[in-house]
C-alpha cells in the first residue's frame, strides 16, 4: 500500500482481498484471463492483472455526464464480465455517476468534491457527452456550474481521463449544432484523454483499458486519436464475417433480397466497415451476442473521428476512389485519402482488399517482445484526438496497424 488510493503502486494479498470483497475467486480469475486476451497480452500476464485488481483499496472512478444521452452509461451497465455489480461494488469505488448513484443534489456534489480534494492525482475520470463552449457554457449546467467549469476542475487532477463515446471524444453530433459542443480533449487545454470512440462505446473496451492502466500504470498503446490500438487497430472490413462474400462479389442489392437472407456483404447498401477501425466484429455486443452487420444492417462508422459528418449519408455506397495499388494476393494496400469528402476505399472484386489511410499515416510497430506500439511516439498534440486531428478533409479512419 503506497498511498491508499488503490491506483497502481498498491499491492494487496490476493486471496484475502478477494474473500474480503466477496468476489468468487473463479469468476474473478475468469475476468482477468479474458482481459489478458482482450489486451493481446501473453497469458503469463494474468497473475499481474489479478494482483493489480485485488489491491485492498479499490481504485476510485468518477463518471461525468454533460451533453449526453446516457448511452455510454447504459453500455457500461451492460458490461458482461465482470458484471456491473462486481465493477461498482467490489472492483472499483464509483462515488460519482449521476445515473446510478444514490446521492443527489448537494450530497452528490460533496462526493465529487471529496474525490477531487482528497484523492488529487489519484483517481480515474470517465467523461460522457460533449461540453458546450458557446455563450459561456450556459447550454449545460449541473448544480449551477457549467459543464466546462466542472470538467476542468475534475479532469485537471485526475490520474487518467477516459472519454467514452463520440460526444466526449470530438463533440459527436452535438458539435454540428448551435451549442459548440466539443470533446473533453478540446475543452480542457493540455488534456490527453484516452478516447473510446463509438456510439456508444463498447463496455468491454472500457474494462480492458482500465485493467491495462491499473495493471501497468500506463495507458495501452494508442493511435493518433488517442484510441487504444487493441480496439481500434484494425479495419472492421478486414475482420468481418461477411468478408468472403465481398471478395467473391456477392452483395446485398436490395433490402430483404436473397442476398440479405443469405448474409451477403452489405457494402452496396452503404456499409462503412471498409472505412472504420474498430473491434466491433471481434468483441461484438451484449455478451458477444451479435453486432450490427450480424443483424443485417451496414456499419455506420460510429467509431471513427467526426463520423456523423464524414459517414452520412449512411445509405450511400462508399464512393470509389483512385486506387494507388491493388494487391491481388489479398494483402492490405495503402490509399491516400483525397480530401474534402468521405472518399473511399474499397472497390469490389475478387481478391481485392482496400484500406483507407490518412494523409499523414502513422503506422504501428511490433516490438521484439510482441507488443504493438505506435511507430511514432505519440506527440502531445496527436494524442488528444482533437478536432484538428479529425479535421475537415481527412477522409479515412486512423490508418494504424498495417501489419497484416
Amino acid at each position: 500500500m503506497v498511498d491508499g488510493s488503490g491506483l497502481p503502486g498498491d499491492a494487496g494479498t490476493l486471496v484475502e482481498a478477494l474473500a474480503q470483497r466477496g468476489v468468487s475467486r473463479r469468476r474473478f480469475l475468469q475476468f482477468c484471463t479474458s482481459m489478458t486476451a482482450a489486451l493481446a497480452l501473453p497469458r503469463s500476464y494474468t497473475p499481474r492483472i489479478v494482483a493489480a485488481l485485488s489491491a485492498q483499496v479499490k481504485p476510485t472512478l468518477v463518471w461525468l455526464e454533460f451533453q449526453d444521452c446516457a448511452g455510454n452509461t447504459e453500455s457500461f451497465l451492460r458490461s458482461p464480465n465482470p458484471d456491473v455489480a462486481e465493477l461498482v461494488i467490489e472492483i472499483l469505488s464509483v462515488p460519482y455517476q449521476e445515473t446510478i448513484m444514490a446521492a443527489a443534489g448537494k450530497q452528490a456534489e460533496a462526493n465529487l468534491d471529496d474525490v477531487v480534494t482528497r484523492l488529487k492525482g489519484q483517481y480515474v475520470c470517465v467523461v460522457e457527452g460533449s461540453i458546450p463552449m458557446a455563450e459561456g457554457g450556459i447550454f449545460c449546467t449541473i448544480g449551477g456550474r457549467t459543464a466546462l467549469d466542472i470538467a476542468t476542475r475534475v479532469t485537471r487532477d485526475a490520474a487518467l481521463v477516459v472519454a467514452v463515446g463520440d460526444c466526449a471524444w470530438d463533440g459527436g453530433f452535438v458539435s454540428l449544432g448551435p451549442t459548440n459542443g466539443v470533446g473533453i480533449g478540446q475543452a480542457v487545454s493540455g488534456l490527453s484523454p484516452i478516447n473510446l470512440g463509438g456510439c456508444p462505446h463498447n463496455s468491454v473496451n472500457l474494462a480492458a483499458t482500465l485493467v491495462h492502466y491499473l495493471t501497468f500504470g500506463t495507458a495501452p498503446a494508442l493511435d493518433q486519436f488517442g484510441r487504444p490500438l487493441f480496439a481500434y487497430g484494425h479495419l472492421i472490413h478486414d475482420q468481418c464475417e461477411r468478408r468472403a462474400h465481398f471478395d467473391a462479389g456477392r452483395f446485398v442489392e436490395q433490402w430483404n433480397d436473397q442476398g440479405a437472407q443469405s448474409g451477403w456483404c452489405l457494402y452496396k447498401m452503404g456499409c462503412k466497415g471498409p472505412q472504420t477501425n474498430y473491434n466491433c466484429s471481434i468483441a461484438r455486443w451484449n455478451d458477444a451476442t451479435n453486432w450490427p452487420i450480424g443483424a443485417g444492417h451496414g456499419c455506420i462508422g460510429c467509431a471513427g473521428p467526426s463520423f456523423w459528418s464524414r459517414m452520412s449519408p449512411f445509405y450511400s455506397r462508399l464512393p470509389d476512389v483512385q486506387m494507388i495499388g491493388v494487391d491481388t494476393t489479398a494483402q492490405t494496400i495503402g490509399l491516400v485519402a483525397i480530401g474534402g469528402v468521405a472518399a473511399l476505399t474499397a472497390v469490389h472484386g475478387a481478391g481485392v482488399i482496400a484500406r483507407m489511410q490518412r494523409n499523414k499515416r502513422k503506422r504501428a510497430a511490433v516490438t521484439p517482445d510482441g507488443h504493438v506500439v505506435p511507430e511514432v511516439a505519440a506527440a502531445p498534440d496527436a494524442g488528444a484526438g482533437t478536432a484538428g486531428d479529425a479535421g475537415a478533409g481527412t477522409a479515412g479512419d486512423a490508418g494504424v496497424g498495417g501489419t497484416n
Binding site: 444521452c69 448511452g71 446510478i100 446521492a103 443534489g105 453530433f173 436490395q254 455486443w285 443483424a295 444492417h297
Partner: protein
C-alpha cells in the same frame, strides 16, 4: 419556510434541477428545470429522411429504440409505406423488450433507493429475510444462505469505507420505513436485476445487432432478415434464444419485480395519497397489432383521461397539441405568450437565466430548457400510469383485471392510482401486461417464418425518386416514459423540418403562459419533507415519473426558417 434545491437530480437520465418551497414540513410550491440543451433537431434538417432514425435515436441512450421507431413511422406515414407484418412484429418485440427491461431498471436502480435503506441490510436477520422472501414469491434464490452471502457482501462494502455508488445516500433518514429484512431482500434483488437487465436486453442484439442504439431499422421495415434455412439471420436458433429470453423476463418480473413492488408499497401506504398533480392523462397509444394507422388494434389504446374521470376516454387530435415558452429559454416570433402546434413550431434558443455559477433560478421568469406542451390548453401527464388508465377506461380486459386485482389486494379504490406509488404500480402492471404480448409476437413471427412469409421490408419506395415532391408525416409511439411523437416534413427528398415532442417534456416542463404548473411541479405540492437537507421525499415523487431529460430537451424548428446556422464540417 425554506427553499430546497435538488441539483443534480440523480438516478435519472439527463440534467434536472428541482427547486421547492417547503413550509411546515411539506412542499407548497415547486419549479422543474431542465439544465442542458443540444439542438439535435436542427442538425437533421436537409438530410435523407431514411437516416433520420439513426440520428434521432441518439436523442436518448436510455430510451434507446423509441426515437428510432417513432422516426421511421413518421417517414412511413409521410410516404404512405406499410411495413410488412414481420417488421411490425420485430419492432414490437424490440419495443416490448425495451419496456420490460427499462421498467425493471427503473424500479431497482433508479427508484428503489428512495424506499430502501441500504445500510438497513446490516441488521437484518437472514433467516427472517428468507421467510419473508419465500412468503411473497416462489423465486428460488431465497435461502438463508443466499441472504447471508448478500449481507456479507454489503457489510464488506460498508466496512471498506468505500461505499462506491451508495456513498452519501440519505441513509438513516426517518422517512425510510422498511424493516431491515425487506431492505436486505430489496438490495439482493437490486444486484440480481443488474445482471438480469444485461441478459434480457440481448433481445435487441439478436434483432438489432446491439444495445444501446440497435441498428436494424429501415424506413419500410427492418434490415434484420428472416430465413429458417440461413445461418446468418433470424432463424430457428435465434427464435429459440429469444423465447428463452422472454421466459427469463417473465420469471423475474412475476417472481421478483411485482412481488417486491407490492411488498415495498405495503410499508408506505400514505404514498398512494401523495403526488397526484393535475390528474389529466394522455396516451398516443402504440405497438400496433395491425396496420400502423389502425388504432383499434394497438397494444396500448389511444386516449385522454380528464380530471381523473375513468368513465370517459376522450379522443386525441394532434392539432390540439401546442407548446408554450413563457418560462422556457426560447423566443417565438409572436412573443412569449404565444403557443404553437409542433408542425408550426419554432425553436430559437435564448438563455436568460442566471450567470453560472448560480444558487437560484429566476423562477418568476424563464427557468428551463424545456418547453411546456399542452393539449387543448391543458396540462397532461404521460407514462405508464396514463397508458394503464386509458386502457382501463377503454375496456381492455387484461388491464382491467390486473388493475382491479391489485387494487383489491391493496384494499384501495382506483383513485389511489393518482399518486406517487400509483405510477410505480402502473409501471409494474404494464410490464406484466406486455409479457403475454411478447409470447404472442414471437409466436406469430415464428409462424410466419415457418410458413414462408419472409418479408421484413417494403422496398417499393426505398429510392427517393419514387417520392412525391413534398410530404409530411406524424409518428406517434409509446415510449416507456410515455407518449412520444415525431413530426417530419419532406421536400425534394430531404428533411425540410423535423420535430419531436417527447414524454419528459410533457411531464417535466415548466409553467406555461397562463401560469399552469407542469406535472412534476404540481405533483410535488403537498409532499412532506422530514429533513430539509435530505429531500428524500421530493426524489420519491420525481423518480416515480422516471425522468428522462435528454429526451425532453430536444426541440426542432419545424417552420423551415433557419434559426441557427448549422455548420456541417
Amino acid at each position: 419556510m425554506a427553499r430546497v434545491v435538488v441539483d443534480p437530480v440523480t438516478r435519472i437520465e439527463g440534467h434536472l434541477r428541482i427547486e421547492a418551497q417547503v413550509d411546515n414540513g411539506a412542499v407548497t410550491d415547486a419549479w422543474s428545470s431542465g439544465t442542458m440543451f443540444r439542438g439535435m433537431e436542427l442538425i437533421v434538417q436537409g438530410r435523407d429522411p431514411r437516416e433520420a432514425w439513426i440520428w434521432t435515436q441518439r436523442i436518448c441512450g436510455v430510451c434507446t429504440t423509441v426515437h428510432a421507431i417513432a422516426s421511421v413511422q413518421a417517414v412511413e406515414d409521410a410516404l404512405a409505406i406499410s411495413p410488412p407484418p414481420n417488421a411490425r412484429l420485430m419492432r414490437n418485440l424490440i419495443s416490448g423488450a425495451q419496456f420490460i427491461q427499462d421498467h425493471v431498471i427503473h424500479f431497482y436502480h433508479l427508484h428503489a433507493l428512495d424506499w430502501v435503506d441500504v445500510t438497513g441490510c446490516l441488521t437484518a436477520d437472514p433467516q427472517k429475510t428468507a421467510d419473508l422472501a419465500q412468503k411473497i414469491s416462489p423465486w428460488p434464490l431465497s435461502s438463508r444462505a443466499y441472504f447471508t452471502e448478500v449481507q456479507a457482501r454489503v457489510k464488506a462494502l460498508v466496512d471498506s469505507g468505500q461505499l462506491s455508488i451508495f456513498t452519501n445516500g440519505y441513509w438513516g433518514n426517518p422517512a425510510y420505513k422498511l424493516p431491515p429484512e425487506a431492505d436486505l431482500m430489496a438490495v439482493a434483488h437490486y444486484i440480481e436485476a443488474l445482471s438480469w437487465q444485461r441478459d434480457v436486453i440481448r433481445m435487441h442484439a439478436i434483432l438489432g445487432g446491439k444495445n444501446p442504439h440497435p441498428q436494424t431499422f429501415l424506413v419500410g421495415g427492418m434490415a434484420a432478415p428472416l430465413d429458417p434455412n440461413s445461418p446468418n439471420v433470424v432463424n430457428p436458433l435465434r427464435m429459440d434464444q429469444m423465447a428463452a429470453l422472454v421466459r427469463t423476463m417473465r420469471t423475474f418480473v412475476e417472481q421478483v419485480y411485482v412481488p417486491d413492488v407490492k411488498a415495498i408499497a405495503s410499508f408506505y401506504p400514505e404514498w398512494f395519497t401523495y403526488g397526484a398533480g393535475h390528474r389529466n392523462y394522455l396516451a398516443y397509444g402504440g405497438l400496433p397489432n395491425g396496420a400502423l394507422n389502425d388504432t383499434s388494434l394497438y397494444t396500448f389504446p389511444r386516449g385522454i383521461i380528464l380530471n381523473g374521470d375513468l368513465s370517459t376516454v376522450h379522443p386525441v387530435d394532434q392539432t390540439k397539441i401546442t407548446e408554450a415558452i413563457a418560462h422556457s429559454y426560447y423566443t417565438y416570433p409572436g412573443g412569449d405568450q404565444a403557443t404553437l402546434n409542433p408542425f408550426d413550431g419554432v425553436t430559437a434558443p435564448k438563455y436568460s437565466g442566471p450567470t453560472p455559477p448560480y444558487d437560484a433560478l429566476d423562477t418568476a421568469n424563464k427557468y428551463s430548457w424545456l418547453k411546456s406542451p399542452r393539449y387543448d390548453g391543458q396540462v397532461m401527464e404521460v407514462g405508464p400510469l396514463a397508458r394503464m388508465l386509458v386502457a382501463y377506461g377503454s375496456g381492455v380486459q387484461k388491464v382491467q383485471d390486473l388493475v382491479n386485482s391489485t387494487l383489491a389486494e391493496l384494499n384501495a379504490q382506483p383513485a389511489a392510482l393518482f399518486s406517487t406509488l400509483g405510477r410505480v404500480a402502473a409501471r409494474a402492471l404494464e410490464t406484466v401486461y406486455l409479457l403475454d404480448w411478447m409470447d404472442t409476437w414471437l409466436a406469430e413471427l415464428g409462424k410466419n417464418m415457418n410458413s414462408g412469409d419472409l418479408r421484413t421490408a417494403d422496398t417499393s419506395k426505398w429510392e427517393p425518386s419514387t417520392w412525391p415532391a413534398e410530404a409530411q408525416g406524424w409518428g406517434p409511439h409509446e415510449a416507456p416514459r410515455g407518449a412520444l411523437g415525431h413530426w417530419v416534413k419532406i421536400k425534394n427528398q430531404k428533411i425540410e423540418n423535423y420535430q419531436a415532442v417527447v414524454p419528459s417534456t410533457w411531464n417535466a416542463g415548466p409553467r406555461d403562459e397562463n401560469g399552469q404548473t407542469g406535472p412534476y411541479e404540481a405533483s410535488l405540492v403537498g409532499t412532506p419533507v422530514a429533513v430539509l437537507d435530505q429531500p428524500l421525499e421530493i426524489l420519491r415523487t420525481i423518480h416515480s415519473f422516471d425522468p428522462c431529460l435528454a429526451c425532453a430537451v430536444h426541440v426542432v424548428d419545424a417552420t423551415g426558417a433557419e434559426k441557427v446556422r448549422v455548420e456541417v464540417r
